[in-house]
Amino acid sequence: MSTESAARPAFEVHLENFSGPFDLLLGLIAKSKLDVTEVALSQVTDEFIGHIQRLGGAWDLGQASEFLVIAATLLDLKAARLLPRGEVDDEEDLALLEARDLLFARLLQYRAYKEVAAWVAGRLEAEGRRYPRAVALEERYASLLPEVILGIGPAAFAALAARAFAPRTAPEVDTEHVHAPRVDMAQQQAILVERVRRTGAASFAALAGDAGSVVVVVARFLLLLDLYRDGQVAFEQASPLGELTVRWVRQ
């Protein structure tokens, strides 16, 4: 996920004027003149995915992940419809049913809010043509008001101004403590490969000894799992919690 998003103006996902994945989905269903049913969902799946594909790399994955989650759910639903329906007996089927029901529920909920949003828009439009009386007081009343007490001197006043002009930090959840400093995975991988390959085998303790921070230790561990999956290294561990030995096995 993007760690630099704090520095960037917040980003709103817009797909041809759709304000979000549910909006897009409802738009597609409406276009097909279908009611919100499972059939509708499977029919518009391809179009939905086509829409988000067309956007290519032009969006921020972190912000747009909901589009992808929904696209994946739709694909699952569509695939399930294409397969012969047997008994719902395994966990995957159950999970799919749950995903479908949740998607329906969220879609219907969203549609309800969209309807009232349209009502709000209509009211704002109509009310915008009425202007409230908001004029300065007549002289005779303005002069009755008590003398103003500012309660602060020039220095405190300047401090107040400075606070007002200070760039506002956007009211966002502070995720600094969640986002670890970035680790250059490619660089770490190069270090690991070079060491294991040169020595043929090394203990994890030795490989992580100079990591410098927990994050880098974790990164190196994850990279080793990657290498293991690719069949480049093998692990040996004599006993649980015992020393982990990493061996270079790739020819």
Binding site: R106, E127, Y131
Partner: protein, 188 residues
């Protein structure tokens, strides 16, 4: 005139005139209770007089209306006079809200107090920037924090009610009955 003004008590201005005078200087909706205190008359009598005034303005083809909005009474120009009024109210015209902003506003209106996270869950898309716009426009405001997660909660403002021309959120139309247990699904 559609009705006789009530007798001025002891030579002073009538209740109706006193209320009209006060309404001319208010710059936000004023509650019946405050008006009753100012004119020193029972609230019910004040409410009745205000209603009479509002009806009177309508039937007399006045260019202004007296309306009860956002928990108070305030004078407004009549909607069909907008073309004339707008030449004087330079910065009165607000930029229109985007579809996204309207949606966030709707969710906040019905679920308040509500966190940004929950609004995002309902819309299926991040709503932070939009919430900021609504804060800037004075349509929503912060309303403490969630005792559980500590997330900032938001609610609509009296200004929101005034812009919609309604007295309170209970005047919002009902949400579509299709929403099954909306509280259970919004957090998905």
């Amino acid at each position: 005139m559609t009705e006789e003004p009530p007798e001025p008590p002891g030579g002073g201005p009538s209740l109706r005139a006193a209320l009209e005078a006060v309404l001319l200087v208010v710059d936000e909706p004023v509650s019946e209770v405050v008006l009753a205190q100012v004119v020193e008359r029972p609230t019910e009598e004040v409410v009745q007089t205000l209603r009479g005034l509002a009806c009177g303005y309508a039937s007399e083809d006045r260019g202004f209306e007296l309306r009860a909005v956002a928990g108070g009474w305030r004078l407004y120009t009549r909607a069909d006079c907008a073309p004339y009024v707008e030449r004087f109210v330079l910065d009165g015209q607000q930029a229109r809200l985007t579809q996204a902003a309207l949606e966030v506003l709707a969710v906040v209106a019905y679920r308040q107090p509500v966190s940004r996270g929950r609004v995002t869950a309902v819309r299926g898309v991040n709503s932070d920037a939009v919430m900021r716009t609504l804060l800037n426009r004075g349509l929503v405001e912060e309303s403490g924090t969630d005792p559980e997660g500590g997330a900032v909660l938001y609610r609509t403002t009296p200004y929101f009610l005034e812009r919609l021309g309604i007295s309170g959120v209970e005047e919002l139309p009902p949400l579509a009955p299709l929403v099954p247990d909306a509280d259970a699904v919004g957090d998905g």
